[in-house]
Structure formats: C-alpha cells, structure tokens
C-alpha cells in the first residue's frame, strides 16, 4: 500500500484516505470486468437483441451512407464503432458483440476512475466498479450491440475529463471533454443532458471571468462536441445531402421520437416504464443454448432500490460542500431519470444503463459515509448477491429450485 493524500475529498465531507489503491487496480478492474462480459459471449442471445438488424446496417452505413434499416431516427456513430469492431474482432456475431464487450468493460473502468477522481478514498471507487461490473443489466447489454453501452462509456469519459478540467482548467482537459461529449451525442441524444448540466456548473464556476472566460467554456461544451456530432453524419452526406437537409433529418428524428412511436415497440411492454425501474422487478427471460440455462435481462432490484436515496444523499452532501463532481454525478442521475420519466415515447429498461454508474458511485459514497468500516461488509454482501444473479444472465446452467422465484417474477413460466 502506498501513502495517499490527506485533504478532504472535493468538499463532500468524506475524510481523506490514509492509503491509495496500488497502480494496477484499474488494470485489474478492467480485466475482471472483461472476464465477466466475455464469458459465454457466443452463447447468450437476448430475445430483443437487434444484432441481426444493426450489424448489416453498420456495413450499409460505412459503404453506402444509408441510415438503417431500421432506425433512421437514431444517431449513427454506433455503426462506425460496430464496423470497427468487426474489423478488429471478426465479421461474425462474436466480433460484432465485442464492440459492447469492450465498451461495457470500459464503462466499469470509467466508473472506477470517475469515483476515484471524486473521492480519493478507495471504497467508493471499488464499490461502484464492483456494482457495475456485476450488474445484471450492464452485463447483459455488454453482450449485444445496443448503443446504450458505448454511449454510457462516453458519458463517463466526459465526466472524468470534466472533473479534471474543473480542477486544472487546462485547455487539453476541456478539449477532451468536448470531444468525448460529441461522441456521446452521436450515439444517444440523452447525452446532451449531462452536457447541459456541465455547462451550467462550469459557467457558475467561471462567471467572474467575464465574457472571454465564459465563451471559452461554451465553445468547449457546444460547438466542439457539435462538430463531432456533425462528423458522424459525413457518410450520410456523401449520398448528396446538404447541411439544410441534415438539420431537417434531425428535426424529423425529434418529431418521430416525440410522437410516441407506439407502433414501434409493440411486444416490449414487459420492459417498458421507467417509473418501475427502482421499485419493481422488471425484465425478460429467454433460454440460452444449454438446457436449464437462461439469458435474462433485468434490474437488480435490491441494489437499484438503494440508488435513489444514495443519489439524494450525495446531492445533499455535494450541495453543502459545494462539490461540483458530486453535483454532476447526482444531478446527471436525477436529470436523466426525470427525462426518461417525462419522455413522450415508450422508454424501455435498457435506457436505464447510463443511470447505473451514477447510482453506483452514489451508493459507494453513501455506504462509505454511513457505514464506515462496515461498508466493506455491505460490499461483500452486494457482490455475493450479484454473483448469485450472474449465472442467469450469462447462460450458465442453473438449478430450478435456486432461481425459480426470480424467473417467475421476470415472467418466465
């Protein structure tokens, strides 16, 4: 163990640590998460997996610039990432899924790094990384090719660089914040929400610098990420489109999403409804390839249930301590959740994926603060519980008596 810093952590009232985790901890977090995500990656197929649709679309987009089929109203960077994954890992289902395996693993690492940058104490970072590494929904969606997983990764990268930029105020950190924010926007529009929160927090901090200082912040969090967002559409532009038509495409995409899209989500009612995410078991189950094994996607209710009070606690402490990282993490969770609750279209369970790292960071912090040394016992119980859930996410054969109650709650009969 090495000696750590002794100052308070970002004004959140958490006592400074006497030791810091060793240098290889992030590497270990990455490798353990990778192992959990790559295990049985070829054998587990979710019933709502869009691989058969999105993988051909990636090739169509890169080669011909065509958006879809289907989903022209979604953002196109996912096609670029998927195409790159097929080049690196092979043009087959495993090669396509490796895209999310890597970004899902990267999300765990980023959760760890964001929490470490916030608190300096090891527990919140280790707890948050462990909770996300084993979270059943995060694991399940690190095995298919949904764009929520890479979007979550880039949102966490943005948070990490933003926290650094707010400390150092170096242009390099602001540029990296803007570039990763652009990548997140080009994957999912909801990434705009943490971006706006960052803008407000940064402007509040730099308000005394006058117009030059504030214009610098606006430029790094506005035009810079927007440039990346526009660049993601260049293959589409090559089909003859003008900038005006690009604006029209985005307006139409918003209109369609705001119209409710009811016809698009028939059959998904079991996993619809964000109001139930933290209070009820929600999910769906299918069989994996081996007898007695399952491919389930669901919320980890006992852990998720704790996210909301933990986030409220983090926000309260962050507000009292004027901690921008705490306000960013807690605020992003709340604002994203309110956005999903009030969205006009149907919102499915998988949209909760970007909330989870923020909830896990808050829970790690709250457990550390409230339980003190006993927080490690809490973490051991949480990890044990998550390990119990892991087999029905990863297609391992399981005895019916041990999992029947949960499978029944998830609608499996």
């Amino acid at each position: 163990m090495t000696r750590g810093r002794t100052t308070d952590a970002e004004g959140t009232g958490v006592p400074a640590t006497a030791w810091a985790p060793p240098w290889w901890t992030p590497l270990a977090v990455f490798l353990l998460s990778l192992l959990l995500r790559i295990f049985h990656v070829a054998e587990v197929t979710l019933w709502l997996d869009d691989t058969a649709l999105l993988a051909p679309s990636a090739f169509t987009y890169i080669r011909y610039g065509s958006l879809g089929p289907p989903g022209w109203w979604t953002q196109p960077l996912k096609y670029v990432l998927l195409y790159a994954s097929s080049i690196f890992f092979g043009n087959d289902p495993v090669g396509w899924r490796m895209c999310n395996v890597m970004f899902g693993t990267g999300s765990v690492l980023m959760t760890y790094l964001v929490a470490r940058a916030m608190f300096r104490r090891p527990f919140p970072a280790i707890a948050a990384a462990a909770l996300i590494a084993l979270d059943p929904l995060s694991v399940a969606f690190s095995r298919n090719i949904s764009e929520d997983t890479p979007a979550t990764f880039f949102i966490l990268v943005v948070c990490l660089f933003f926290i650094r930029a707010m400390k150092t105020d170096r242009d390099r950190d602001w540029i990296l914040t803007g570039l990763s924010l652009g990548a997140a926007w080009a994957l999912r529009w909801y990434a705009v929400i943490p971006g706006l929160l960052m803008l407000v927090l940064a402007l509040a901090r730099h308000r005394k610098e006058g117009l030059p200082g504030m214009s610098r912040i606006v430029a790094y969090l506005g035009p810079l990420p927007l440039s990346i967002y526009v660049a993601a559409f260049l293959p589409w532009a090559a089909r003859g489109y003008s900038v005006a038509e690009w604006f029209s495409l985005n307006v139409d995409a918003y209109r369609v999403q705001a119209s409710g899209m009811e016809g698009m989500f028939t059959g998904l009612t079991r996993i619809a409804g964000p109001s139930r995410w933290f209070t009820t078991w929600i999910g769906a189950v299918d069989t994996a390839y081996r007898p007695g094994s399952y491919a389930a996607m669901f919320n980890d209710l006992p852990i998720w249930f704790l996210f909301v009070p933990a986030v409220a606690y983090l926000l309260w402490r962050g507000y009292k301590g004027r901690s921008i990282p705490a306000l960013l993490v807690g605020g992003s969770f709340i604002l994203l959740y309110v956005f999903f609750l009030t969205a006009r279209r149907s919102i499915m369970l998988y949209s909760s994926i970007p909330l989870l790292p923020f909830g896990a960071i808050a829970l790690g912090f709250a457990a550390d603060k409230v339980l003190g040394r006993k927080a490690w016992i809490f973490l051991a119980i949480a990890v044990g519980w998550s390990l119990y859930l892991f087999p029905i996410v990863s297609g391992m054969p399981v005895p019916g008596w041990a999992y029947g109650w949960l499978l029944a709650r998830l609608g499996w009969s």
Binding site: P56, F59, S66, R216, A219, F233, R239, Y241, E245, M261
Partner: protein, 221 residues
C-alpha cells in the same frame, strides 16, 4: 502620480496600442474562435461532400420504359446519384422487404436487385439514386394517404404534406398544388397508369429541361 492625474493617451494618433489591444483581446477569445471555426469547417465539409456527390444527366432526356424493373435499371445505369425524384402516383412503392437483396446487388450486380412494382422506389433510395422522393398524390387519393400515414409509427403529418423517411431519405406525399418549387433539376417518374389522374399541363411542366434532366414514363408495371 496616481491614475486620476495621469495625462490621457491619445490612441487615435498612435494606432499600435489599439492594434495591440485588439490582438490581445482576440487572444482571450481564441478557444471560442477556434471551436466555432472547427464547427464552420465541419459544416462546410458536409456541404461540399454532399453537393459534390450529386450526379445529374448531361442535358435533358426523356425515356419510356416497359416496367418498374426497367425504370430502376435505367436510373442506375445513367449513374444518377443524390437526386430529388418526383413520382406521380398514389403510392410510394417502398414496400420494405427487399433491403438486404438490394444492398447485396449494389456491388455492381444491378441485375440481381429484387425490383418489383411495390418496391422500386425503395431501390432508388437504397442505391443512392434518390436522396429525397416526392410522391405527388392525386387530389382524390389524399385522405387515404393521410389516414394510412397517421397510423404509422414514423409518419410526420403536417397541414400541407405527409412525410416519412426511409433509410434517412425523406419521402414526402403531397398534392399537386402543394408540390414545392425545386432549386435543382429533378428526376420525374410517371407510371402510365397514373398519367390520367393529373391535369396534363401539370405533367407537361416537368417535361422541361429547366425542371428535370430525366423524364421517365413507365408503360407497364
């Protein structure tokens, strides 16, 4: 000497302090200027890539084809790309079940494209011939189009048009009176069966080199 009693400097006689101040002032805005410039370059690149990839025919040509398949193959062979296609018919012919085969056929094997009377406009879009399709619907068919598109998940209904998008390309259904003026020459496509549904002067206005570079009349299905 305090600042209050200091003699005023007449900067109008000496331009260098003003210039210096302007340069120093601009430097404070350098990040904002650089980011705005990057965004402007990106939009410029987008516009250039888009407009330079449009392919028009030289002069004006009028074709008569025997079927929708012949029509599709004709437009592909003419090398048209990124075009506005104006279709005079009551349906858009975009039944979406042949996308995969269409995409496979794009590698230089047009003959294998799964063209049918129901999906040939889908082929125009997938192959990149059309970037925007206007379906000019006869007035009497308009209520049916509105009803049909209102029930679709991705339909956009406005007071003057009903729109959807296919693979990112806009498909606008309009009545003849709501058809907009175009800032470029278009591809006019007229199935013979629908010809009688429109005022002859309206169709003739598209059989004009100033309005379209390609005018296709499709005889059969």
């Amino acid at each position: 000497m305090n600042a209050k009693n200091a003699p005023a400097i007449d900067t109008q006689d000496d331009p260098s302090p003003l210039l210096l101040r302007a340069v120093l002032g601009a430097r404070r805005y350098a990040p904002a200027i650089a980011c705005m410039a990057l965004l402007a370059i990106m939009f410029l690149a987008f516009q250039t890539v888009g407009v330079s990839n449009r392919r028009f025919a030289e002069g004006y040509r009028r074709y008569e084809v025997g079927s929708s398949r012949d029509g599709y193959l004709l437009l592909r062979r003419l090398g048209l790309r990124g075009r506005i296609v104006v279709l005079f018919d009551k349906t858009a012919h975009i039944e979406q079940w042949g996308a995969r085969e269409y995409i496979r056929s794009l590698g230089g094997r047009d003959e294998s494209a799964p063209v049918t009377p129901d999906n040939f406009v889908e082929g125009f879009i997938l192959s990149g011939v059309a970037r925007h399709v206007y379906v000019v619907v006869p007035e009497k068919e308009w209520p049916l189009i509105v009803l049909h598109m209102s029930t679709r998940g991705d339909g956009i209904v406005t007071s003057s048009s009903v729109s959807s998008r296919l693979y990112g390309a806009r498909v606008d259904y309009v009545t003849p009176e709501n058809l907009p003026r175009f800032g470029e020459r278009v591809v006019a496509y007229v199935p013979k069966t629908a010809e009688s549904e429109y005022p002859s002067s309206f169709l003739t206005s598209f059989d004009d080199p100033r309005v379209s570079d390609i005018y296709v009349v499709q005889e059969g299905r």
